[in-house]
């Protein structure tokens, strides 16, 4: 970009997918293909219906507010945002404007982008309801109200982001936060995450703390994937830079644009002066309610350690690589599994290797989650212990792993029932070595302690006879001793 720097702010809407019911109605909060099958009268605004606030949705929203280091309100209200659109059955959306205080204000998020630590200030976080979904056909559109009333968290950042990559890193971080908190799958493929992006550019050599130096804010609406966010920001920076270079920037009005996925461009929607007046006012049907400090304490105590902190810990405390730590914390249940196994007394690096290697590839191939995975942390410890005690070889470990899952038995049981105990007993090995020496006189004669390559051949023979159960190190040691003795 050269002479300019970008100021980017995000509005991230994320559905809360983990409540059982919608935010103001007791219809199921569940994604389904069957249209209009999760409906209570409230969701379609039949005359006389009233909103009733879901406690669990509020709890989750407060939890998110705390995770973003926001302040929580002492009392909570909802407000009506009034406008007409076919996907909005009431003619208003229940949401929270900044006055009175929404579920969270003035927070801060620390995240990582390309190995660098970044901070973004959060202006506010509010709890609101999703709209119905429209399907468009050639001559008409149809409305499915299943999504109407699904709880939605809207997070509004300050324009602290400076690049498209940083914006995406922030969103990925937030997705992980929501997943770790257990409040949303945050899956943009299911339409659960949607963003509006604010982009402006300013001369690089000016002081960015002085608002006078800021450029004109362009809002890009309806960006529904992280890739879209990246592309829309890049496009806008390019477009605005070009305007600067053509001396057209200063006449550009503050405006709202829309991201067009197909053409990869942003399209003018309306000017700031035509902005809709949403006529916000406090919803009288929802009495203000007190958020007790006891409840806040309870919620705070239930917040798990988040991915960002876990990753740091894995690297500093356990000496794991950035790569390994990143993979481990990607999903909370995997990270929990890892931590539980380590807490049983296993070596973190070994557990990480197993988790990131055999276990993840098994889960992926079977398309199951770790909660459905038979080999629990206790079994993983058993397996690692068996290897560390040299009862089985590492190679055998992999076989045992497969058998455990196939036969649904513990590693100990598998090793026993499959007769996979390594032979470390020297007298047993002695006999076998003697046999091998007897059967291979020529090779024995050619043995040269200075060039012990032939040793591998003997080990191979021993493994063949023991069907791999000989402990390779022990066998090798004994064989060497025998051959040396013979030479003398």
């Amino acid at each position: 970009m050269g002479k300019y720097k970008a100021k980017i702010g995000l509005e991230m809407h994320c559905e809360i997918s983990e409540t059982k019911t919608k935010v103001f109605s007791s219809a199921k909060n569940e994604y389904t293909e069957q249209a209009n099958s999760n409906i209570r009268p409230v969701d379609m605004a039949f005359p006389g219906v009233l909103p009733v606030v879901n406690k669990e949705a509020v709890r989750m929203a407060l939890m998110a507010s705390m995770a973003l280091k926001c302040q929580q309100p002492a009392y909570m209200y909802f407000e009506r945002k009034n406008y007409y659109y076919p996907d909005l059955p009431k003619g208003f959306q229940l949401t929270q404007e900044t006055k009175p205080i929404p579920v969270g204000i003035y927070g801060e998020v620390t995240f990582e982008c390309n190995g660098e630590e970044k901070r973004v200030r959060i202006n506010n976080l509010h709890l609101e309801e999703d709209a119905a979904s429209l399907d468009h056909y050639d001559d008409y559109s149809t409305i499915d109200y299943n999504r109407a009333g699904v709880p939605l968290l809207e997070l509004v950042t300050e324009p602290d982001i400076t690049s498209a990559e940083e914006a995406v890193a922030f969103l990925e971080h937030m997705r992980s936060v929501y997943q770790y908190l257990g409040i949303s799958e945050a899956d943009s493929k299911k339409g659960q995450v949607r963003c509006d992006v604010n982009v402006s550019i300013m001369d690089e050599n000016l002081d960015e703390n002085d608002p006078h130096n800021w450029g004109t804010k362009i809002e890009v609406k309806n960006v529904n994937s992280f890739g879209g966010v990246r592309d829309a920001i890049k496009y806008e920076i390019k477009r605005q830079t070009k305007l600067k270079e053509n001396n057209e920037y200063d006449t550009m009005e503050q405006q709202t644009r829309r991201w067009d996925e197909e053409s990869g461009t942003t399209i003018y929607m309306r000017s700031k002066v035509d902005a809709i007046d949403y006529k916000y006012f406090v919803e009288p049907n929802i009495p203000k309610f007190k958020i007790s400090s006891e409840w806040l304490k309870e919620i705070k105590a239930s917040i798990p350690r988040l991915a960002y902190d876990r990753k740091k810990e894995y690297m500093t405390k356990y000496g794991l690589s950035d790569y390994d730590a990143s993979i481990l914390v990607k999903q909370k249940d995997i990270s929990d599994y890892f931590e539980e196994t380590v807490s049983l007394g296993c070596d973190a690096k070994q557990v990480a290797n197993w988790t990131n290697g055999m276990i993840l590839s098994y889960l992926n191939s079977k398309e199951i989650s770790i909660n459905e995975f038979f080999l629990n942390p206790y079994m993983l410890k058993e397996l690692i212990d068996l290897i560390n005690a040299k009862t089985i070889s590492s190679k055998q470990g992999k076989e045992v792993f497969a058998k455990v899952l196939e036969k649904q038995k513990s590693p100990q049981e598998i090793v026993k029932s499959e007769g996979m105990m390594q032979i470390t007993d020297t007298s047993e090995l002695d006999q076998i070595i003697d046999e091998v020496i007897r059967e291979n006189p020529e090779q024995v004669a050619s043995y040269d302690p200075e060039r012990p390559k032939i040793l591998d051949y003997f080990i191979g023979q021993i493994m063949k006879k023991t069907r791999g159960k000989a402990n390779p190190a022990t066998a090798s040691q004994l064989m060497k001793e025998k051959l040396n003795d013979l030479q003398k």
Binding site: P47, L50, F281, P284
Partner: protein, 484 residues
């Protein structure tokens, strides 16, 4: 008329003693419904197939009644007296309706109202004007116009109403009956078509205070579908009526009642105030202390505007669901905006449209502070003023309106700056959610007039008991309208 002029307790006793059957009551009530429909145009729907129900211990079982047409009734047309819902048949009952059903109440008709309750004349319903059974050239007032006319005419002992400004209590006065709206949230609003949510109350119209207590006992209760409802299981209105009022304290507001506040008071107004003062004396003779109090006149004068601003603002938002998409007649148009606009333009009456525009204006971000929020602020000041009175007094007693029912040809429903606070003071009962009851207290020009008692929130039993004692001391209990 053999039965429908009787009280609920009388009818219940007759039913229990098998002197009459539920079917016979329904038959008479339906006959009366058709008669009053012809004479007064009181009903949107008459339920000719109403079925008798088993008579139980419940006082309401087997007895006919009417429901205002903004009560959502399962499988029964519910229009709110609006063309926007002229064919709307709900698939669920309002909570209050379910409760009445469970008590064994039999619904025989749905009553006409001012469109969505947004009027005080009974002239703006989509099925036309409701006429006052005492004098067909006069209005019933509104919005619970059909309910008031029907109860006054003896169609049944009670009908439900709703009250956002005075919509139960003013038509009750004009029709010579009892109109009671309990404390806000005592009866669930679930299934009541909203006008202004922070002011809307459900209530009842009857011909005596005890009947009002009986019906509200059945309708009230906390409801999981209405967050503003509260648990009143400890309140038993009928049982608490003992008529013992000695030592109770009432007050009336000088700025409202003193004739010197009105330029050129009409003869009717003078008579009305004189009649009210007679009622005050009657209260005193019952051992009730009644005192004159003073309230800041600026606040009182602001009250009508506060009401218009808040009610119109909430209404314009509440009725944004009326687009003809999910229910209501589908509008014409090539795109959704034209389609919605066609539905709304054709569906709403001029009065409502006007109120929507006002409501929208006062909510605009650049106007909200000056109009809407200031109105909400004065609302608080007025409520605080009344709450101050309730620290000392059991209730505020005031005349309803400026006299008897007005002539229909003179009806207007535009906020008039000269409108006396006298016409509008009942709104304060809605601002604060106070329990408030109107009972008939005499006749002027051969037409009934009413008096209102309003008490503090949750103090319904006390308010009703005072009204009960006062009613007993006057001659207007259980009166049936007769053409004058």
């Amino acid at each position: 008329m053999k039965y429908m002029n009787k009280s609920i307790e009388e009818l219940h006793e007759m039913l229990v003693k098998k002197e009459v059957t539920s079917a016979e009551l329904i038959k008479e009530s339906l006959e009366m419904s058709h008669k009053i429909q012809d004479e007064c145009n009181a009903f949107v729907t008459i339920l000719d197939d109403a079925q008798p129900v088993e008579v139980t211990d419940n006082l309401l079982s087997g007895i006919p009644c009417g429901l205002k047409d903004n009560y959502s009734t399962k499988d029964i047309l519910s229009t709110g007296s609006s063309n926007t819902l002229k064919d709307y048949v709900p698939f669920f009952d309002a909570t209050a309706v379910s409760k009445l059903k469970a008590a064994g109440a039999v619904f025989v008709n749905k009553t006409v109202m001012d469109e969505f309750g947004m009027g005080g004349t009974g002239t703006t319903g989509h099925t036309g004007t409701v006429l006052n059974p005492w004098d067909k050239t006069r209005m019933t007032a509104g919005s619970s116009a059909g309910s008031a006319a029907a109860v006054a005419a003896g169609v049944y002992p009670y009908a439900t109403g709703s009250d956002t400004g005075d919509s139960i209590r003013k038509p009750a006065a004009y029709c010579g009956i009892v109109g009671y709206k309990p404390t806000y949230g005592m009866i669930s609003r679930y299934g009541l078509f909203p006008f202004a949510s922070s002011l809307d109350h459900l209530g009842v119209m009857t011909r005596n205070v005890k009947d009002a207590a009986i019906v509200v006992d059945a309708m009230k209760g906390i409801d999981k579908n209405d967050m503003t409802s509260w648990d009143s299981s400890h309140i038993h209105l009928r049982e608490s009526l003992d008529g013992k009022v000695k030592g109770k304290k009432l007050c009336y507001v000088k700025e409202i009642v003193d004739l010197s506040n009105y330029e050129n008071p009409s003869a009717e107004l003078k008579e009305h105030i004189a009649n009210f003062m007679k009622t005050v004396e009657l209260c005193k003779s019952l051992g009730i202390e009644v005192e004159e109090v003073s309230v800041d006149k600026t606040l009182l004068n602001a009250s009508p505007a506060v009401y218009v601003v808040i009610s119109c603002a909430e209404a314009t938002s509440n009725m944004s669901n009326l687009t003809g998409i999910i229910f209501g007649p589908r509008g014409q148009g090539d795109n959704y905006i034209e389609m919605m606009k066609d539905h709304r333009t054709k569906g709403f009456s001029p009065l409502i449209k006007r109120r929507f525009v006002i409501g929208s204006y006062v909510l605009q971000s650049q106007n909200q502070e000056r109009y809407f929020r200031n109105a909400q602020r004065v609302r608080r000041l007025l409520v605080d003023a009344w709450k101050d009175l309730f620290k000392k007094y059991d209730g505020v007693i005031l005349p309803v309106g400026s006299g008897p029912a007005k002539h229909l040809d003179g009806s207007k429903d535009i906020l008039d700056k000269d409108t006396a606070v006298l016409e509008e003071h009942l709104q304060i009962g809605n601002f604060g959610g106070f329990p408030s009851i109107t009972i008939p207290n005499g006749f002027i020009s051969n037409l009934p007039v009413g008096v209102n008692i309003t008490g503090n929130c949750y103090d319904d039993a006390n308010v009703l008991n005072i009204a009960y004692a006062l009613e007993e001391a006057m001659d207007y209990k259980n009166q049936i309208a007769k053409e004058v």
